[in-house]
Point group: C2
Chain length 321, copies 2
Amino acid sequence: MATVSRVLNESPNVSPETRANVLRVMADFGFVPNASARNLVRGRTDTIGVVVPFLTRPGVVERVRGIEAVVAASGSSMVMYNVESVERRESLLRVLPEQGHDGLVIVSLPMPHDAAQRLLEVGPPTVLLDAHHRSFSRVVSNDIHGGRLAARHLLDLGHRRIGFVGDAPRLPLGFWSSRLRSIGVRLALEERGLAWDPALVRVGEHGQGQAAELAADLLRGPGRPTAIVAASDTQAIGVISAARTLGFDVPGELSVIGYDDLELAEPLGLSTVRQGLTETGRQAVELLHRITTGGLAGPIRIEAALELVARSTSGRVPAGA
Amino acid sequence: MATVSRVLNESPNVSPETRANVLRVMADFGFVPNASARNLVRGRTDTIGVVVPFLTRPGVVERVRGIEAVVAASGSSMVMYNVESVERRESLLRVLPEQGHDGLVIVSLPMPHDAAQRLLEVGPPTVLLDAHHRSFSRVVSNDIHGGRLAARHLLDLGHRRIGFVGDAPRLPLGFWSSRLRSIGVRLALEERGLAWDPALVRVGEHGQGQAAELAADLLRGPGRPTAIVAASDTQAIGVISAARTLGFDVPGELSVIGYDDLELAEPLGLSTVRQGLTETGRQAVELLHRITTGGLAGPIRIEAALELVARSTSGRVPAGA
DNA sequence: CTGTTAGCGCTTTCAG
DNA sequence: CTGAAAGCGCTAACAG
């Protein structure tokens, strides 16, 4: 019994022949150790819970990929919880502490106060990724600054009429990033003494097709912009396809810049703001490890590096515009 | 002790006042039940293990979404294992039986014989999705037929020179679908008495950018096709962008059809073959439930419905071609 | 309706 | 180096 355990855990205090014997018998009997019993006595599960909204969005998936890589590398498993509604978020945050995970990574979801309280009191170590809360260690991104970087790039290319295509504030789950990026655009304009024209802003449901419609509306209107900042690469692609459908050359007649630097941005030549999706996913789990191993005093905040990536969908403003 | 358990499990045999007392004390002490102990004694974990290759590919993610929906609806959690190399597949299949999951869904991965044997002998109930093995219940798709549907659609539109852009056989992990779809294309051609021209085939690494390069090469060559079947929607998008970059109108001068019917296919107007990614993910978990609840005699095989979805990237062959 | 008791299958002292 | 024994925290059967 105890010896079997020692073999399983590769304890050195087992003679080679005993080990061989045990292994043979295990094979003969088709013995499989019981994870629950093991977890019970060891007081940990080697699982990390990962809570994400809208699993299918490419940006979310890239984050998950970074998370997964580190979790798997540390020998743990990743338990995924997808959240697409407020009710689900609520019920999930309630039962999450009881799931016995060694740690939690919560992505992009604003934390209601009571859930935060409960997690802190009775939950496992938790980090937030792309979400803010004073009491948790977190990896965040400065969306306002990101929007500003995007707009500055276009301003540097001579553009003055800069439009914005983004998400309608998704009231229930409360995502702010699109809104913050638009504020960054406004800031950049005002820094250069230019006015922000609300007529050049279109927001709607998230998605490529929806963004295409928003952009088409914007481009067909009077005083169309010479450049558009999209709140995400997904939306930028929609904007570009709308522009091309309407016969505008990109970037000849319209410059477009996205946000995220998704994997597909590079092959598409999409100009964008890189926020290191995979990289920050990785960082979040590493942060969690630091907490778990006790090397951290209080909650800390890591800010993701933002980088403008100029490719071929943004160019100089057309002459005469 | 036992009463607390009863409260936790919502047993009716608890007086309201006792229940209230227990709940109050639980709250005061910040009591959280231990999942491992519970799992140990109940003999199950309420977790389903999901093994997927290349988590970041959109098609895989749509499958996962279907899986997740059903798993979550049944009150279980989904533990994700991402596989991007043969070594990882091997080590994973070895330790998977010990993870204590109530069931396993294995997506798109060919099962080596020994791993299959071990899973059958000592593993939990397992279903395969988009993978074939006589001994497992599985949800599969007829890729040859799918390729044929795509090609027939183009043939019906008058095309005779039909190209194919797909994946190089990814030797290590052994994905066959691209290859099978190309065989379907060939079959469709031969059904109409047309020869399959290997000069119109390009295969390479999976991805939009790579597909664009393959397509560009194909379109610049002599005797270019009037239509191209891509092995996936992702690749079809690459093909289309290459065509447009080279100045070919789609579908005016080149028809393109993809495969999968990803979410983005509809907004892009991409013609494609729908294989119900989300839907089959759902089916796989439902199949697993049927096994778990004992309502299944032997391994069964469910074939996914395939449907041609004609949109606006495919049209009649140009006059004179 | 509530308390007592016996394990679930493992790891970890502690003796030998 | 190996076996015996205790106990992780819960549930289920059994008395009361």
